[in-house]
Symmetry: C3
């Protein structure tokens, strides 16, 4: 239960109308009942607001709240930013009992910070260090010598591998795996794939060889304020560590291979895959399903549209798209041209026929 | 052990020949021994049948079963439909002991229906409601206030988040995560990616900003008869719920982001990714690796070929393909033209040279 | 702690300089301290070596180790192969206590080989057989009647399904799922997607139908020396088994659907997806995010670049790329032509205008 005045304070904005209005939850405009705070931060939601039964709402700056039949409102200039504040204030968070559950196994030498919550069947390995106020949900595992900072939230079944080092305020959604082994194999002689990459397509003579494993001696190093989505995987490095910079957010089913160095404040959207050994700058946004080849460099502030396949170096600030990736405007020009191509080929054939027919008199 | 007559009854078809033939399992025609019921529902499998030792088989309608040296057969008009009936009849299902395993933890206020089977190290949260005959395999977790209907099957390590609501006959393969948090972040000022999306490519001046989290207050709502594949993830909504309609089947490693609304009787094949906030109609089939951008609408009865990237609205009944998605016939025409393009560019160059040479006499 | 002479012996190469040099770990050249063995197997790492404090290193064949200020070195002809030997020698491996942890559940009739290590909360199903020296980490589960050979390593939360059969030296990274059900559904009448595939795009009249499940009676059969990455999934077959040949290595988040038959010594890189019923030869390398359609055949020694979508048969030894896949050289020619297309369309339009203008005098 919260009041309009309280939510206004959370948002750092004044309330308009009746600040004593009480709500039990937030709701979309059309679904909002009398006890719901309607969230309608853009005029496109306004009509839905009229059809609902909301008495109070968060609206866009300049909205005429009385016109929607409301008793009160808070007006905000930047809708999504207001959403961050509202949802943070109203999120009950996962229910976790304080303390260490009796079925949790904490191995010798592990150190847990103040006020941690460790759920049932959790396993904390030998010499692990976990900071204050960590919340570790059921069946998560943290292997030997790993370190996690303060205020961590590990959801059910998260796997933190040996010697992984993670900063403060880390969040991992269920099933995320940090610190699996890198995927790195070699054949005794040069393999077909090595030859094909070197020659851009020619494998030469094929020999029958098996793969030998290159083990991962490195680990994973993650900065503060990082979040990793459900069932995503981040592999350990071969010699040095795979690293994820402060503030970077990783969505579900993302794969970060071994030895990658990801910068700060990046967004890696769902199903992004980064092969191995690449360097990615700060504030890079990779849309859903973006693929990044191994051993390349992506600058700062790069934005890649969904489905982009990045095979080569990308410079600071570029907005890219396509497979292989090119600048977005180049991609759109190529695509528009391709749409016109079937018709253009007909025109070309007509032209050739004409020229050929006309060519008889020697002029063309 | 089952007889030919019994399997005929299962299929709702008459048997031919010896209905007392006994089998212990089904097998492919070439591998079938004397105790195996051979499955050969299309003439293309007929020769393999001759080389095997099967005495009985399921064959296509009109097949001459005696000609294959069989003692009996059941003839079926629609092979895959018969497969559904046969495999359902012969599947032993996972072994699960009745009752609640002594190591399972059932929190206060949780209600389990009749005849449930709850495996070792399972955790059922506070106030969870689970219907009759549910089978919950080892180490699955169901968080507080979640509801699951009758006849559910949750395999090992499935994660059901808080407040998720699921209908009857739900099946989740190992490692599926229902109800992780949505991936939703915002910067204090407009970010480069927002500007690039608005301008189709121009980020303007880049500023250094970090991401603030938008929490997920909504949950996930799933209809009856839904199946979710291994290690797939379905995120909760921001304010309202992410929803999956009745009868929809989801393959492995699929990501359904926050606030999506998926219709009924859809098929989402392996590694499909649906970003967030999109609406997908009924009976939509998305092939493997299809990507769907955020906040778009896909109509009913849409079919998208494998690897299609959908960035814009798709109308009812369209069959689409490519990246970006276009109608399949358009995609094929574009592709055929592209195959011819290198040669066409040579022809164009020749033509230009000719015209230029011919142009000297003033005609062209 | 190890000496230069010892690592030389591991590599089967002579050491140069002081064989008694002692190291505690391996390190990259620039980061190497006095107690680290620097790994710098290519001249491109040479400068970093000068700036570090390493006293000993592994270098490329022909390197002048004294010139880098080192006291000793081992020179190797093939860098990555040397990496395999060095990392194998120095990898401590995951910490696992010998024997069966008291919280592990081993069901009746299960047989564990000599010297196994079974971690906390592991579940071994009825009649499972596991070979000698297996290491099964916390919370992994092996379902009824599964068989795993000698020297297996199952990391945390791995799921092995019922009746799965696996050879020796199997490695599964955290969260891998072997033996989930296949994704196979059928409608009573022919569905829109079946019609669209048959007609290449035309669904005909759409009817409202629901999907009936085809159960998976088959299992998964895996040869010796196979590795499966974190959160990858391999589905069981419908009637016969899905199979993975000896020596094949599978990266993270890979999906192998039902009834696929994968050959020996293949590499399936991150996020590869193989739909169902396909046959893949030996020594095939599929780059990251490669998709393989259902029911196709890929020959031996095929190499597919990252992001390739394979819809049709591929012959032995082909190096392919693109969506849909074509030979790499064809793909590059098509792509180069596409880059030139926008300009070519302008040229074509100019030419047409010229011809039209010139056409007035009847010559063309």
């Amino acid at each position: 239960m919260f009041t309009l005045a309280e939510i206004a304070e959370t948002l750092g904005r004044p309330f308009e109308g009746d600040g004593t209005l009480r709500f039990v939850r937030a709701a979309e405009p059309g679904a909002a009942g009398a006890e719901d705070l309607a969230l309608a931060m853009s005029p496109s939601y306004a009509n839905a607001l009229r059809s609902g039964r909301a008495r109070g709402a968060i609206l866009w700056e300049g909205a005429d709240w009385r016109d929607f039949g409301l008793k009160g409102a808070v007006l905000v200039p930047r809708a999504r930013l207001a959403m961050a504040a509202i949802t943070s204030a109203l999120d009950p968070g996962p229910e976790m009992a304080p303390g260490v559950h009796p079925t949790a196994i904490v191995e010798a030498g592990a150190q847990l910070g103040k006020d941690v919550s460790v759920g049932p069947y959790v396993i904390i390995g030998r010499h692990v260090r976990i900071g204050a106020r960590a919340r570790i949900a059921a069946q998560a595992t943290v292997a030997e010598d790993a370190q996690i900072g303060d205020d961590a939230l590990l959801m059910q079944g998260v796997r933190i591998g040996a010697r992984v080092v993670i900063g403060d305020r880390f969040i991992a959604q269920p099933g995320a795996v940090i610190g699996g082994d890198g995927f790195s194999f070699v054949t005794p002689q040069e393999s077909g794939v090595e030859k094909a990459r070197r020659s851009l397509g020619d494998q030469g003579e094929v020999t029958t060889q098996s793969w030998t494993r290159i083990h991962s001696l490195g680990s994973v190093r993650i900065g503060d304020d990082v979040e990793v989505g459900a069932n995503s995987t981040i592999d350990r490095g071969t010699v040095s560590d795979t690293s994820i910079g402060r503030g970077t957010k990783i969505d579900n089913l993302v794969m970060v291979g071994h030895n990658n160095r990801i910068g700060e404040d990046c967004l890696l959207c769902g199903q992004v895959g980064i092969a191995g050994g690449s360097t990615i700058g700060d504030r890079v946004v990779l849309g859903g399903k973006v693929g990044v080849n191994d051993n390349i460099t992506i600058g700062n502030d790069v934005v890649a549209g969904g489905g982009t396949d990045i095979f080569t170096r990308v410079r600071d600030g570029e907005v890219i798209m396509g497979s292989p990736a090119v600048k977005m405007e180049t991609n759109m020009a190529m695509y528009r041209a391709l749409r016109r191509l079937p018709r253009a080929l007909e025109q070309l054939a007509e032209l050739r026929a004409k020229i050929k027919a006309g060519g008889g008199d020697g002029n063309v």
